[in-house]
């Protein structure tokens, strides 16, 4: 685990020196623009899909002439228009400001593999919860997300994961009577 960026000593010193922020470096601007441009294009695409979906709806039989299709066309048109404006704005160099409601984050740096690990762990849960059962799937996901966030002690983390997922399992199935799958542990738990 090379958690280099996440285990930076006290948050202070390592945080971006003045000028290192993504939106602050002119020469990097063009490159930094790409993710946002893609986002703008995605917004336009969503708008167009919505319009097309609205167009494909059958004609209305109601008194107003408004059927299933008109509102989607309005919403889709709005989305498309805003997406185009957004692309124009981004091309003119106005980038977004990352959410300010967080402490200890620096959006100009991206921990790629930690992000991928955490996302993969979430997807793994979705794919395995029915087969492996809730306790195992949740424990694996817990461990993976914890390591993506900078946990270092393997045994402790695994221990917490196991205790927590079993605890939640029993709490839900026994106390709240919400059924969670036991998966391959059926009969054992």
């Amino acid at each position: 685990m090379t958690n280099r960026p996440t285990v930076a000593p006290e948050s202070g010193a390592a945080i971006a020196a003045p000028g290192a922020g993504a939106t602050r470096v002119p020469e990097a601007g063009a490159k930094r623009r790409w993710p946002e441009l893609l986002l703008g294009i995605a917004v336009v695409a969503i708008g167009i899909v919505t319009i097309l979906d609205g167009l494909s709806q059958p004609a209305s039989t109601s008194a107003s002439g408004l059927g299933a299709g008109q509102f989607p066309m309005i919403v889709g048109g709005l989305t498309t228009g805003l997406g185009i404006l957004l692309i124009v704005q981004i091309l003119r160099g106005r980038l977004g400001h990352p959410d300010a409601a967080e402490g200890d984050v620096d959006a100009s740096r991206l921990h790629w593999w930690q992000l991928l690990l955490a996302t993969a762990a979430l997807v793994l849960f979705a794919l395995t919860v029915d087969v492996l059962g809730y306790p195992i799937a949740a424990a694996i996901t817990f461990v993976a997300v914890a390591f993506a966030t900078g946990a270092k002690r393997w045994l402790l983390t695994i221990g917490i994961a196991v205790v927590l997922s079993l605890g939640v399992f029993y709490l839900f199935t026994l106390l709240l009577r919400i059924q969670l799958p036991a998966g391959i542990l059926t009969g054992i738990l």
Partner: protein, 545 residues
């Protein structure tokens, strides 16, 4: 029933042993979850929604009332001791609150926040009770086009005024409206935007959507961009609570904050950012001499005013929600979802048909508020211990709990996949400066707006001019124009004044304040405001609405 009568009646509903216990439980759990960094009131309620499945309606809402205010109290603890506000309304108070905590005055900051929240919450809730019946009397006479007009107001104000950039806010809103379309059309039974997936016929579960955007988005954001895996929690051990001077300096900001927060909550003016920001700049302007220099470096007024404004604002959003059925903040939207899960639709009819429920809810907001003060002043040390949970375990816990919540809704892993998809969307929105609240409000209010629009047009046989034909709707649209331009104007003026002259001198950069003071001054506060180009040295930060 007028307000006072209703409130008295509400107390008779709320004052049963069982309901008092639920209020206490809600306040306790709400504070506990709300204290956890990054979990604001909206997410707290969304995560705890499953707790109330199968409960009696009145008790469930009394529980919510406690959770709602509890999460807000918890949020100020994290803001002050950790500088992680969790939601936009706490950002302003976090600046000076955190500075006070660093200077060894954390306990005083927490106390002024708690007492200010209590006073603001109490006054505002009583005002809700006084206003609600009158508004309901008007609301029962409104037709579909009038409701549609009100919803347009909610959309535009929430979309254009939340966050730093109106364009990005409206884009968030449009995405939310699109999500609200998914599923079967209520009138014709056609399926829309389901792409042949039968699971989507019921629409996107709002609880899944909210938990995804707030919780998973949050986890991914922190994983991808955190600078340290440890929290720097300020200690409050052995500190004195408020002194006489603190009290003398706080009480006026509490009242002024309430006066700013409540009306801006009622009229939908776009979330809790604007009132807290206005309160901060007002307090700063009113401060004299050396006091003014304290702003940004730990002025108690800078905590007292915005925290009061935040709570009064939150209570104010209950007025349009309960009387008109219109949610104007993410939290109000989730409370609306909670109502819908019990087959209830907030609005004028609700107060008539279910007076016990609504008045019981309002009364328990007052009770919960008092309980919170009692819980928070002496017990804050206990809550602070929750901040000691190591960050990796905290976020792994949030992630697994969110997965559990999504799975438990229908017992289907499809919902978990949806959760992850929208979680990634939530991360991207957060990363690139798109506010989350308009997505939620759009997704939940969109279908209701479509209902009213089509109802109005059905009545008029498709003549779109009918939307402008009632005096009420004309008044609403005209007011909308004023409401939309006025805050933007105020904000532009404020930003000019604050960032250019005063904030430059006094308020340090939000995230990089651990460098020395001299360094800080080169980076004025980010809040959620984009900085004018003049305050920054590079062109890329000049995004202006």
């Amino acid at each position: 029933m007028d307000g006072i009568e209703g409130l008295v009646h509400g107390f008779t509903v709320a004052f049963t042993l069982q309901n008092l216990l639920f209020a206490l439980l809600g306040a306790f759990v709400g504070t506990m979850i709300g204290v956890l960094p990054g979990i604001g009131p909206a997410l707290t309620i969304a995560l705890l929604l499953p707790m109330t499945y199968g409960m009696e309606v009145a008790s469930a809402f009394i529980l919510f009332a406690g959770i709602y205010y509890g999460a807000m109290y918890g949020g100020s603890t994290t803001s002050i001791l950790l500088k992680t506000p969790g939601e936009s309304g706490s950002i302003v108070a976090a600046i000076d609150g955190n500075k006070m905590a660093r200077a060894g005055r954390g306990a005083a900051a927490l106390a002024t926040a708690a007492i200010g929240s209590f006073i603001a919450g109490t006054i505002a809730t009583v005002l809700v009770a006084l206003f609600a019946p009158g508004i309901v009397d008007i609301a029962v006479q409104l037709g579909a086009r009038d409701f549609f007009a009100l919803m347009v107001v909610a959309f535009l104000t929430v979309g254009a005024l939340v966050g730093g950039s109106p364009l990005r806010g409206l884009t968030s809103l449009a995405l939310g409206l699109t999500l609200g379309l998914v599923g079967i059309d209520f009138q014709s039974g056609q399926d829309r935007l389901t792409f042949g997936m039968p699971r989507l016929l019921d629409g996107i579960d709002t609880v899944v959507l909210i938990v995804a955007l707030f919780a998973i988005g949050e986890v991914l954001y922190v994983v991808a961009h955190q600078t340290t895996s440890k929290y720097a929690v300020e200690s409050i051990k052995g500190q004195r609570w408020m002194t006489r001077t603190d009290l003398r300096r706080s009480w006026k900001p509490w009242l002024r904050g309430t006066a700013i927060g409540f009306p801006l909550g009622v009229i939908p003016a776009g979330g809790s950012e604007i009132p807290t920001f206005l309160s901060y700049s007002l307090e700063k302007r009113l401060a004299k001499g050396a006091r003014r220099k304290e702003f940004g470096n730990g002025a108690i007024e800078g905590v007292a005013g915005p925290e009061a404004a935040n709570n009064a604002n939150a209570a104010g959003t209950m007025v349009p929600l309960l009387t008109l059925g219109i949610p104007t903040s993410a939290t109000a939207a989730i409370i609306l979802v909670a109502f819908q899960q019990y087959g209830l639709q907030p609005g004028p009819a609700l107060l008539r048909n279910e007076p016990d429920l609504v008045w019981g809810l309002i009364a328990s907001l007052l009770i919960g508020n008092l309980m919170l003060l009692v819980l928070n002043l002496p017990l804050v040390g206990v809550w602070v211990k929750l901040l000691k949970i190591p960050k990796p375990y905290l976020f792994a816990g949030i992630a697994t709990f969110a997965l559990l919540g999504a799975y438990a809704v229908n017992g289907a892993s499809f919902d978990v996949l949806l959760l992850i998809v929208f979680g990634v969307v939530g991360y991207l929105l957060r990363r690139f400066g798109f506010p989350i609240a308009p997505v939620v409000v759009g997704a939940i209010l969109g279908p209701l707006a479509e209902l009213q629009l089509r109802r109005a047009l059905d009545i008029s046989a498709g003549d779109p001019l009918t939307l402008l034909a009632s005096p009420f709707s004309v008044v609403v649209y005209v007011t909308l124009a004023v409401v939309l331009t006025l805050p933007l104007l105020i904000r532009t003026l404020n930003r000019r004044r604050l960032t250019r002259t005063t904030m430059l001198e006094t308020v340090p950069d939000d995230h990089r304040d651990q460098r020395d003071e001299r360094d800080d001054r080169e980076h004025p506060i980010q809040l959620t405001e984009p900085q004018p180009a003049s305050a920054q040295q590079t062109p890329a930060t000049k995004e202006k609405p």
